[in-house]
């Protein structure tokens, strides 16, 4: 079939429908892009390959983008990869700049999406060949690099690192999973916990418990003070959004989009690492690192351009190796197999029309995402003015729905929500640092697998230094990252005393 026969009105309507549903899924705490793609997958069977892809890619782009809305407005990351968006987006909302923060996030998402798409289109096969140079060793170093962020993100470095390591520790509870290459043995479990915790705690319930439930518990402790929205949120000041916010941010936009794309290309590193890495790089390179975490627009830009940069990146290994770059693209494989299309190293060459359709669908989905979200902002910001006795119970219910459905119906995930809601509340009391804890929890399992597998294969710690030139470059980055963190913490102490 010719390309222009495929690009029917239906094709574009499906992109719009997919993007809208995706944004809604992404915007509801607990619902994710992955889930949106999974629930719509059966529909695509009757749609045919091209139209099915239009719907699914719309869902993918929309779902990743929608996550910024709750992250900015109510401090709950809609998807794990918008975690770092909360760091500066929510403080902006507290200052009454929620609308601005959303617009900054949306523009950054569009830029990230388009840059990664361009990279996908022009360099996919080359990049796939580069990606396979990353063995267990290099992947561990990337994760380690992302973990060094913990130091830069904490206000008290020692406590911050402790919180991060605690996050890793808790992420290791349960089975050393066979499907990741582990030996299937339990660890860190008492016998009575086995029936519940044999698969450990799931990320999403932990995330929304710590961010969503614990925030509501803290509000409840204060007796739900009258007034609207979460405590301290100012209503929009009506300061108009200007693109001048982006002046001087082009380096940030490009770097973050590229980091996002690159992390997406590496199978098994995980989407959250993308925004964590680019956020911390922006902080390191910034002239005003102390602004970060207090509502710096460049923090939102870094985080959002990186997580949309993922979308194009994750399709690189999918379409040129047949290997998904993240959990959502893992389901996209199902869409191809349903239609009898194999994805692998020959896919692009054998299916040039489908390849063009994918690129066009992604492009259209990014543009549609931008237009719809820009239009919807005016209505979205009203969320913060909904009275608490309406908003909070609904948020709690949606957290429950998200936790229950993330693994297709497991009640323990709902209890995880409560456990980590209470944990988040207590952590707040004893001043544990939540951001490093979550980062440790997210990256812990991959850090383990890649570390242990590297040693299993090579039997010596020196392999981490000698494996390849890539390892050398990564060590350089790691050392720089640590040095920056130390310098930053010195400087902050100096400010404190002055």
């Amino acid at each position: 079939m010719e390309l222009f026969d495929i690009l029917t009105p239906l094709f574009f309507i499906l992109i719009v429908v997919g993007t809208v549903i995706g944004i809604i899924f992404g915007a509801i705490p607990g619902m994710t892009a992955t889930m949106a793609v999974a629930v719509c997958l059966p529909l695509t069977y009757s749609l045919g390959l091209e139209n099915g892809l239009a719907l699914l890619l719309g869902l993918y782009v929309g779902g990743i983008s929608g996550g910024l809305v709750p992250a900015i407005l109510i401090n709950i990351p809609g998807t794990p990869s918008s975690l770092t968006t909360t760091f500066d987006g929510y403080p902006m909302t507290l200052r009454g700049e929620g609308e601005n923060a959303l617009k900054i996030g949306i523009v950054s998402s569009l830029v990230g999406g388009l840059i990664s798409l361009a990279i996908l289109y022009f360099f996919a096969p080359t990049l796939a060949d580069f990606a396979i140079k990353f063995s267990y060793v290099e992947k561990f170093l990337i994760i380690f690099f992302a973990l060094t962020v913990m130091a830069a993100l904490s206000s008290n470095m020692l406590v911050g690192i402790f919180s991060g390591i605690l996050g890793i520790f808790i992420s290791l509870i349960g089975t050393y999973d066979i499907s990741d290459g582990g030996n299937g043995e339990y660890r860190l479990l008492f016998d009575f916990m086995v029936p519940y915790l044999d698969s450990g705690f799931s990320l999403l319930p932990v995330l929304i418990g710590i961010f969503g439930l614990s925030a509501i518990l803290i509000e409840a402790e204060h007796g739900m003070p009258a007034g609207q929205g979460l405590s301290g949120v100012k209503l929009p000041k009506g300061k108009p959004f200007k693109f001048s916010v982006f002046r001087g941010q082009s380096v940030n936009l490009c770097r973050s989009s590229l980091i996002g794309t690159f992390v997406g290309i590496l199978p098994g590193v995980g989407g959250s690492a993308a925004s964590i890495l680019s956020y911390s790089q922006e902080k390191h390179f910034s002239k005003n690192p102390e602004e970060f975490g207090k509502g710096a627009p460049s923090g939102v830009i870094a985080s959002e351009s990186a997580n949309n940069g993922l979308t194009g990146g994750a399709l690189v290994p999918l379409l040129s190796l047949g290997i998904p770059g993240d959990s959502t693209t893992a389901i996209l494989i199902g869409a191809f197999t349903l239609q009898g299309i194999q994805v692998g190293p020959l896919f692009i060459g054998n299916n040039p029309v489908t390849w063009d359709v994918i690129i066009i669908a992604m492009l259209a989905a990014n543009i549609v995402m931008f237009l719809i979200m820009m239009f919807a902002i005016r209505h979205l910001v009203k969320v913060v003015s909904v009275p608490k006795h309406v908003l909070f119970p609904v948020i709690l219910m949606m957290c429950v729905v998200g936790a229950y459905t993330i693994n297709y119906g497991i009640m323990f995930d709902v209890w995880t929500l409560l456990i980590f809601g209470v944990f988040g509340y207590l952590a707040h009391k004893i001043r544990l640092e939540i951001a490093p804890f979550i980062i440790g929890f997210i990256l812990g399992p991959s850090a383990e697998i890649y570390f242990v597998k590297s040693l299993e294969s090579f039997g010596t710690l020196s392999i981490f230094f000698t494996k390849s030139w890539i390892a050398g470059v990564l060590w350089l980055l790691i050392i720089m990252s640590i040095a920056f963190s130390i310098a930053l913490s010195r400087r902050n102490k100096g400010h404190g005393q002055a």
Partner: protein
């Protein structure tokens, strides 16, 4: 999609539902069934195959069936909790192989559950080598191992991915007792990990599948990613039932070159080892036999109609319907065969 019309009907009958809790008559499947699977992936073969069967079954019996990819341990737990037939399961040979290999969380399915009908085979389980590597065939590999060369095989431990490895080890033991120590497992996870260790030169042989690796075998020899099939574990009769065009650019006849008797991995010196990855139902031990009967009958009618076979073959599944009683006997025998192999290589 008829799903939306079903939705409307469901909404209409909602009031009635609330008024009368479904204390179902216990002789047939309830109106809303949850089909759990032993995989957490909704892009994988278990999900795909279960979705095909669930859709056919739901249509035939005019009920709702939801497929939930909850994973092995949660699926078994859900099945244990519910004897009403509201929760049923589909899984494959992993369910008893996990137990044979002593993996945590796997019980003896023949003791703990009721084994239901088999529905399909995924004939794609394969072993591959690097195209520019020293080995051309399984014969080369067995010969090299017998001659004392260490052969590293990348697998996911504890089940379907390991059974072919165990068989290879056993075949080397028979050819050259003692040399089986040269067959070493590299324990990895996903297909991406297995491919990666081959690219890195950390393994000589990897476990894979026709579906996931076929395109890699089509790459030119000088490509670092190029692979070569050396063995498909499926039975000859299984592959012979596939559509003649095969999968991708590999027609059925070419696949037949990689199965027994063209590739021989002996089980006991006389017979070749084969492994068909079969999908079958599992039920709660106390589920009403009438429901077992009902599903058997329904599936028999569905397979007699012949439409499901086309859907399965289009997705490279081989139709394989055996009613419950026959399936249980057959799978038990299959399990006992594999137990012998595993015992033989772990004896020393």
């Amino acid at each position: 999609m008829t799903g939306f019309f079903k939705t409307l009907a469901a909404a209409a009958s909602f009031a009635a539902l609330v008024a009368t809790p479904t204390l179902s008559s216990a002789q047939e499947l309830p109106g809303n069934v949850r089909l759990v699977i032993g995989s957490t992936s909704t892009g994988g073969d278990t999900y795909q195959n279960s979705a095909i069967v669930a859709e056919a079954l739901a249509e035939h019996l005019d009920i709702n069936i939801k497929v939930d990819a909850v994973g092995v341990s949660e699926a078994f737990k859900a099945l244990n909790r519910d004897s009403r037939g509201s929760t049923i399961m589909i899984f494959h040979d992993q369910s008893y192989l996990g137990h044979l290999y002593g993996v945590r969380g796997y019980d003896d399915i023949f003791e703990t559950y009721k084994v239901g009908p088999t529905v399909a085979i995924n004939p794609g389980n394969a072993y591959l080598v690097a195209k520019n590597g020293p080995f051309q065939s399984m014969e080369d590999i067995i010969a090299a191992a017998s001659a004392g060369q260490r052969i590293r095989v990348a697998i996911q431990p504890g089940g379907v991915s390991e059974i072919g490895f165990s068989a290879l080890k056993n075949a080397v033991r028979i050819a050259h007792p003692g040399a089986e120590e040269n067959i070493v497992a590299v324990n990895t996870g996903s297909q991406a990990d297995k491919n990666q260790v081959l690219f890195d030169g950390q393994a000589e042989v990897i476990n894979g599948s026709v579906q996931a690796n076929e395109q890699f075998t089509r790459l030119p020899q000088d490509d670092q990613k190029a692979m070569r099939f050396v063995w498909l574990t499926a039975a000859k009769e299984t592959i012979a039932q596939a559509n003649p065009e095969g999968l991708g650019d590999t027609p059925r006849d070419e696949m037949l070159a990689y199965v027994t008797p063209n590739v021989s991995v002996t089980m006991d010196g006389a017979e070749d080892f084969v492994f068909d990855k079969e999908f079958f139902f599992l039920y709660n031990k106390d589920m009403d036999p009438a429901i077992v009967e009902q599903i058997d009958t329904a599936l028999a009618e569905i397979f007699a109609a012949g439409k499901i076979q086309e859907t399965q073959k289009a997705s490279f599944f081989i139709p394989d319907f055996k009613p419950s009683a026959e399936a249980a006997t057959y799978l038990k025998a299959k399990r006992d065969d594999y137990r012998q192999i595993i015992d033989a290589i772990s004896a020393q």
